[in-house]
Amino acid sequence: MTNEEGKTAILSATDVRKWYGGFHALDGVSFTINEGEFVSIIGPNGAGKTTLINVLTGLVAPNTGTVVFKGRDISGIGPEKLSRMGMARSFQLVNVFPNFSVLEFLMVAVVSRLGKGTRLFSSLLRDKQITDGAMEVAHLFGLDAKKDMLAKNLPQGDKKMLDVASAFALHPEVILLDEPTSGVSTSDKNKIMETLVSASKQIGIKSILQVEHDMDLVFSYSDRVIALQAGKILADSTPALIEQDEEVVCTVMGKKECFKIFSSLQNKER
């Protein structure tokens, strides 16, 4: 995804603060996500990344500050309304309906997107619009062969994909992915990112915001990187610039990891 001239803001946070007791999880965070951007949020554990996602998806209301999505203040609006406005998210930990088949799982999202949830007497399986919509997403994520498998019986990586796919099935404008590749083998990570990018193009998702730990993925796929530290924004820039900023990388990754990365950057081995 490339940035274009005359960017349109789609999601913006202004001076967002969230504290739990004396602990400031978010301490004045401001940024704007534009249409067409792929933004990665990085930061050490406890930097406030998941709190930020929770605030941005309206699950948690900030103590002060505003979150504006498509020109509307969405602080504390709740995930259900937000999904109808065009924002979806996936979870850090696998979050599925264990007893649902892959197809049924995706159908929940499609039913909700089409606003057909209150159809009490129409047949679900005879509704081509619903089944086709679910199959389309299953296909994008390479899950079509497993469409009848129960979510709980899927391998870990597929569970994760299914969770992400269900968010895509909502056809959102903005999607927030909380560590889409965590718990997945390194070899599969790139494949997942490729899938995400191509699926978002197919579906017409305008912007992706992801929390990601794998720096290689962050640097190779993002248009922009926001580094969080102790609830504050440490840096907000292009991957190329962040990558070279030893201070940022060392704060975000910790000393040990940081040395690994910088040595690996030199010999391009990692």
Partner: protein, 329 residues
């Protein structure tokens, strides 16, 4: 290969099987005695209640422990309309029962669906007992613990007061109740196989995820609550003329417990499970009661057995037997 064909054949036999069982039930008065037909009539009333109950329990994952309240609402509607208002039209009774219970359930449900698990169960239990006390204490309205008489209703506008009681109940009224059960079972089947049914199951399995997929968790739970209450009221309204009398015992918590028992016994994970549970419960209760007055003791033991050995209920046992055949293939 042979087995797989057999399984496919078994599966395609499901609908014909349901129809055959339905026809056999319909013909019970032709070959069985009046008393047995009367038992089956009671089953029809409970069957309607329990399939409604299971929309909430099995599909939405909410265990109501006060569902007898709505059965009582239906039964007292029948009593009021036939005795107090002298409007003994069964269709009117059914419609009134649905309206009254839906209004009451809309109010109670709006509060209850904010809670889940034990809190939901306790709240519904509390409302059930509240209604019990109301029926008991407002005796000038409800007849207190003596209850109210339910006069014989007109069916489709026809007065059957000339027919002897058991002949009416095991005859015309039996068929009438059966047809309503058949229609409501079909309607419930449509509901659970609709997009709404899918969303309910999603809420049951993972409400947080459902909400992120744009499913209005509380709203859908509330719909399910109101629908299941309306079913219970129809069940109660059909039961009342069969018994000829209503009393507050109808909404006592053990009545709600009976509905839970039926669902567990039959298997709440299966659409027809509660129906199987209902018929087995009623036949078993009848035979055990004739043997010993400690029938509750026996039923307690059965409940323990079901929960520990066959948590999927009778339908679950049948289902796993079918699956085992499938795996043998």
């Amino acid at each position: 290969m042979k087995n797989r064909q057999e399984i496919a054949r078994l599966k395609s036999l499901k609908l014909p099987l349901v129809i055959v069982i339905g026809l056999v039930l319909l013909c019970v008065p032709l070959f069985a005695g009046q008393f047995f037909s009367y038992l089956m009539l009671t089953f029809f009333a409970y069957a309607i209640t329990v399939i409604g109950f299971n929309l909430l329990f099995g599909y939405a994952g909410l265990l109501s422990f006060g569902h007898a309240l709505f059965m009582a609402v239906g039964a007292y509607t029948a009593a009021f309309l036939t005795s107090t208002f002298a409007l003994p039209y069964m269709e009117l009774i059914l419609v009134a029962a649905v309206i009254v219970s839906a209004i009451l359930a809309a109010l109670i449900g709006a509060l209850c669906v904010r809670y889940i698990k034990i809190y939901f169960a306790m709240l519904t239990l509390a409302f059930g007992m509240l209604f019990y006390t109301f029926l008991l204490k407002f005796y000038y309205l409800t007849g207190g613990d003596e209850g109210m008489r339910v006069l014989r209703p007109y069916l489709l506008g026809i007065d059957f007061s000339g027919t002897p009681k058991m002949q009416f109940l095991a005859g015309t009224y039996y068929i009438y109740a059966f047809v309503i059960l058949a229609i409501l079972t079909f309607v419930m089947w449509k509901i659970v196989s609709s997009p709404f049914g899918l969303c309910l199951k999603a809420i049951r399995d993972n409400p947080e995820k459902a909400e992120y997929l744009g499913v209005s968790v509380k709203k859908y739970r509330w719909y399910a609550f109101v629908i299941s209450a309306a079913y219970a009221a129809v069940g109660g309204a059909l039961l009342a003329p069969a018994v000829g009398q209503v009393d507050p015992g109808l909404t006592y918590w053990t009545q709600s417990g009976t509905l839970v028992f039926m669902s567990l016994l039959g298997g709440f994970d299966y659409f027809f499970g509660p129906l199987i549970g209902g018929i087995v419960y009623i036949l078993l209760q009848n035979s055990v009661m004739s043997l010993t007055s400690y029938w509750r003791f026996i039923f307690g033991a059965i409940l323990v057995f079901v929960v520990i050995v066959a948590p999927g209920g009778i339908a679950g046992v049948i289902g796993s037997l079918v699956k085992r055949r499938e795996r043998r293939d």
